[in-house]
Amino acid sequence: MDRRKSLQTMILGGAAVSSGVVFNSCKTETIDEAVAESSAKYFGRTPKELERIEKLNAEELFNAHEMETIAALSVVILPPKEPHGGPIEAGVPELVEFMGKDIPTMAPTLLGGLMWLDHKSNTEFGTEFKSATLEQKKQICDQICWHDIEVPLDKQALEIQFFYMMRGLTVTGYYTSKVGIADLGYKGNQPNVWDGVPQDVLDQHGVAYDPEWIAKCIDQSTRGTIATWDENGNLLT
């Protein structure tokens, strides 16, 4: 069963959403086959690294209820917005689960914080956090979302630390996902020929290129020509 699908169904009521996650934790092949099979899928891991990832994937840190609670909290923290979706499309709950296992010191804060959320919600509203109304969820979050910036985080209440961690995971999870990168507008990670900052950007920020400096820089129309120099190091081509 693909757990992410069930979370999508729960949060979005079954609406069709695009997947932002390529890693499939239900993988059953052996590590060696997996490494050989496809670098695109395994992002250049060494066999030992891949083995560790498979091992973590086979472990379960959060039960289904906790995963649903994480999903419910993540969309309060960063509500989805057209056209680039939100934390569910970005695979935030899966990231929270994985990181809680990958960096085990995070797990107690996450597990404890989830318990706190339900306790608080039950006490104040007589319902678990995930089933509370959006307004009720916000009332709870409002009490823990402002940490004291003058005090080290680890000296503040567990629920404050928890919210800080969940916000961090949610925002970083979103902006490292396909949909989040589209929302951010990052244009890199693809072949390019860098030829300087566009004029409208220079103008916006009130800076300009020094013509003398630019004269020394690569003329990109010559990038494919093999370099030769005179004996004094002056480029001839």
């Binding site: 507008g185 690569i218 093999i226």
Partner: protein
């Protein structure tokens, strides 16, 4: 268990395949010698799609690039970091040295910053300037022809600026500055700090038909699949093989010691094959150590024999001594003028600085004797794990609330994207005999080989230099209209001076010199105590300079290789 010994006698065994070992391989194999490379890690080729991390997206990984398995993030192309499983190192109490080891063909050249700076005339004779440390037994003029050839063979962008101690070379044209670098140039100008185009070994232009040209993904740390940046495999070892050289590569082979005969001359090496955990011997006429400054010192110290009771090459007791790393300190600031950026274009650029500041100061008027250069980073880079973690944390500098949740977090992230500039100061430490590595007789690695114990402390020279870096960074941030992101580290924190080793420029452990009593090798990097053993990593460095060490490692390795060829021809070794 009997040690398995091969019958073949190689002309040269090269231990290690990084910058020094790669260059020796290229030169010696090109000269027709029969070469065996012994590398402690597995084979690696940046072009292999199975191990490639270049152009991966964070969402291809369940940890989105986090550094759990690799200290510099999971895309970084170094197999091994401050820790290598089963291969510990220890520290003298009260001291700390961080030791980075990359266990793979090409070693650390696969992930390094490619900052390729020549040492200048003063750098080889700095004792003449300030009376500290020692002079090298060679001059800039001895090395210049090799730097020149190196520039042309490997390719490095930069500009000829006519600066006295930052020599000109044979440069490819540099890339244009990015937006944050224009802010840096303007900011530095206000303090009369020079800024010139960076000097990095990436191909902004073709240098031959075997290597690709940079396509500006900004990911040199991931090792370039089209060989547009320098790494020892792609630019030295594979070309040596391709041109018909006899190069046999032994991988996953951890050298225990250099073996010697009755006359005390080297006969080869013994190594542990990591796959079957058995010990093997290889024989050669000449042994070249290029395992990294500390690893080569370790091999020498572990190579004890009747003829070399204190370890091979160690009659002087200098092996392991004078260990030094570059100094480093960092700062970053948020620049309001760089906030609310247009994301209409791709500004990845090359994987490193398009501009930098070479050392400008007059140390005779300062309370530290050696200089540093400033590396600059910033820009709208690829988001990875940690990006946006504290999405509006910088609000505190602008009197706005920090924390909360909701749709406004999207605006916070975008408002600050690309608005931070950071600096790394990289300086020269004075080499001292009492900073050293030695064998820890109580600890072995998983192959039964005694490990290194480090003993390294900074002196006031380096601490004062770090203070100067911090003051300079503060001024630069101020000049750019920015706000420092962290509280300036004070005296109680040694002004943010990084732990020794952390800049990953280990040098000096087998220093060269004319006097066998105070040095390990002669000026051709040949052991005083065994004429058929050479060291071509940064061990023979007498001093570090405020430059990065790789370009000089390669120039000197080439020079030593020429000497080996000449000596073999003359039948002197």
């Amino acid at each position: 268990m009997q040690i398995k010994e091969s019958s073949e006698v190689y002309d040269v065994i090269i231990v290690g395949s990084g910058a020094g070992g790669g260059m020796a391989t290229k030169q010696l194999a090109d000269a027709g010698l029969n070469v065996a490379i012994v590398e402690a890690g597995p084979f690696f080729d940046p072009a292999d799609p199975v191990t490639q991390t270049q152009l991966k997206w964070p969402y291809e990984s369940p940890r989105r690039g986090a550094g759990t398995d690799r200290a510099f993030g999971e895309w970084d192309m170094s197999w091994g970091d401050w820790e290598v499983d089963g291969e510990p190192y220890t520290q003298e109490e009260g001291t700390n040295f961080m030791w980075w080891r990359a266990r793979m063909l090409g070693g650390r050249t696969n992930h390094w910053g490619r900052i390729s700076l020549r040492f200048g005339p003063k750098d080889f004779k700095h004792k003449d300037v300030d009376g500290l440390g020692d002079n090298w037994p060679i001059t800039y003029d001895d090395v210049k022809p090799y730097y020149d050839k190196l520039d042309k063979l490997i390719g490095v962008f930069g500009t000829n600026e006519g600066r006295e101690n930052d020599p000109d070379g044979f440069f490819l044209p540099p890339p244009k500055p990015r937006l944050h670098e224009l802010f840096y140039i303007d900011g530095a100008k206000k303090s009369n700090i020079p800024v010139i185009p960076g000097r990095l070994s990436m191909l902004t232009k073709k240098i031959n038909n075997d290597r690709g040209v940079c396509f500006y993904c900004g990911q040199c740390g991931r090792s370039c699949s089209v060989y547009a940046d320098f790494s020892a495999g792609s630019c030295l070892i594979f070309p040596a093989q391709k041109s018909g050289g006899r190069v046999k590569i032994f991988v996953n082979a951890m050298v225990r010691e250099v073996t010697t005969n009755e006359e005390g001359r080297a006969t080869g090496v013994s190594y542990i094959n990591k796959e079957d955990r058995k010990e093997y011997k290889l024989r050669a006429k000449v042994v070249v150590l290029a395992a990294s400054a500390c690893s080569s010192a370790r091999i020498l110290l572990n190579s004890k024999s009747k003829q070399h009771p204190n370890g091979l090459g160690n009659s002087s007791d200098v092996v392991g001594k004078y260990l030094h790393d570059s100094t480093g300190a960092s700062a970053a600031g948020v620049i309001p003028g760089l906030m609310n950026r247009k994301v209409s274009y791709n500004e990845d650029g090359v994987g490193g600085m398009h501009v930098y500041s070479p050392w400008w100061g007059d140390n005779s008027k300062l309370d530290f004797p050696r200089g540093y250069h400033i590396e600059v980073w910033g820009g709208m880079g690829q988001p990875n794990y940690g990006f946006g973690w504290d999405p509006n944390g910088m609000n505190k500098y602008f009197g706005l609330k920090v924390g909360g949740y909701g749709e406004s977090l999207r605006d916070d992230v975008k408002k600050y994207y690309g608005s931070v500039i950071g600096f790394g100061g990289r300086g020269e430490a004075v080499a001292r005999k009492d900073n050293y590595c030695e064998i820890d007789p109580t600890t072995v690695d998983q192959f039964g080989i005694p490990v290194l114990k480090f003993n390294y402390k900074w002196s006031d020279f380096e601490i004062n230099q770090a203070k100067h870096m911090q003051d300079t960074f503060e001024e630069l941030i101020h000049n750019m209209g920015g706000i420092p992101l962290n509280e300036k580290p004070g005296k109680d924190q040694d002004y943010g001076l990084h732990t020794p080793g952390q800049i990953i420029h280990e040098v000096g452990t087998t220093r060269m010199g004319d006097d066998p009593k105070t040095s390990v090798t002669n000026k051709y990097q040949q052991l005083h105590d065994a004429d058929n053993v050479f060291i071509v990593d940064a061990g023979p460095f007498v001093s570090q300079a405020d430059k990065n060490c790789t370009w000089t490692i390669m120039a000197l390795s080439w020079r030593a290789s020429d000497y080996i060829i000449e000596q073999l021809k003359a039948q002197n070794i």
